[in-house]
């Protein structure tokens, strides 16, 4: 199969949003293409960086929300 793969295709491949035909083509050619590997590594690094910096809301904020959720159960609301 002779086709041009763009970086947008790689982007969609990484997030599994690309069409199956393109997905399998990239998967088969990937071991032989260092540029693709580098691009996909950048995407993985971005994912990891954002996940690693993930934080949770404070307990106080969560209690305020839960209090509000109970309060709003007033049938006259």
């Amino acid at each position: 199969m002779d086709r041009i793969i763009t970086e947008n295709d790689l982007l969609l491949f990484h997030y599994k949003e690309v069409e199956p035909e393109t997905y399998y083509h990239i998967q088969a050619q990937l071991p032989f293409n260092p540029q693709w590997q580098e691009y996909l590594k950048l995407l993985s690094d971005v994912d990891n960086s954002l996940q690693k910096n993930s934080k949770s809301p404070s307990k106080t904020t969560l209690s305020i929300i839960m209090e509000e959720s109970i309060h709003q159960e007033d049938p006259t609301f």
């Binding site: 970086e7 947008n8 982007l11 969609l12 997030y15 949003e17 691009y39 590594k41 950048l42 995407l43 690094d45 971005v46 994912d47 960086s49 954002l50 996940q51 690693k52 910096n53 993930s54 934080k55 949770s56 809301p57 404070s58 904020t61 969560l62 305020i64 929300i65 839960m66 509000e68 959720s69 109970i70 709003q72 159960e73 609301f77």
Partner: protein, 193 residues
């Protein structure tokens, strides 16, 4: 464990029927992804807490008023509300005058830093690696798509709906974001780890 089998739509239905535990499950299921997305967009933990709280209060009001009709698409809906609030806050923040100290730094930023312990700062520095620092420097539209796709794990279709654009625009913004990250990396002569 069993709660993971219950869909968001069912939890909302149960909450409407008076089961507040169902709402708590919903909050716990999505809190980190929503808070984390907001935090990654606004880069301010205090602001992120406010936006997160206001988002869920709006969600409660909308559900109770019968305005929720997205079945199991709760997360994209909630993120749309959170995203719009984040964008509004950033716009307001830009309009606010900054109080600068004699060395030219933002007074409130200085106070915030002074309030942290050395340990807090050390941990924060470790956590915020170079790549994350560069992500923070991206133009807002690019960062937004990057965060919603990479962190919140929404599809480009869902991001397009949230940002009132189309799929190609979202893919384009993500592509430019990655191009910029590569440029930052090259400029700093450091390979992205």
């Amino acid at each position: 464990m069993a709660n993971t089998c219950i869909t968001d739509g069912v939890l909302i239905k149960r909450y409407v029927e008076g089961n507040t535990a169902a709402f708590e499950t919903l909050v716990n299921r999505h809190k980190d992804r929503i808070y984390g997305s907001v935090m990654n967009i606004v880069n301010d933990s205090y602001l992120a807490e406010d936006i997160f709280q206001e988002t869920f209060i709006k969600i409660i009001h909308n559900i109770k008023r019968g305005k929720y009709n997205h079945e199991d698409k709760f997360l994209p809906w909630a993120l749309r509300i959170a995203r719009n609030m984040a964008i509004d806050s950033l716009r307001r923040k830009k309009r606010m005058p900054t109080v600068v100290t004699s060395d030219g730094s933002d007074l409130f930023e200085t106070l915030y830093i002074a309030d942290k312990s050395q340990e807090d700062i050390r941990i924060e520095n470790e956590e915020h690696n170079e790549l994350h620092g560069w992500i923070r420097m991206l133009p807002e539209e690019q960062k937004e798509v990057l965060v919603l796709r990479s962190y919140a794990q929404l599809s480009f279709k869902e991001i397009a709906a949230i940002t009132d654009t189309n799929i190609n625009t979202c893919i384009g913004r993500m592509h430019y974001a990655l191009t910029n990250l590569r440029k930052f990396s090259e400029k700093n002569s450091v390979k992205v780890k």
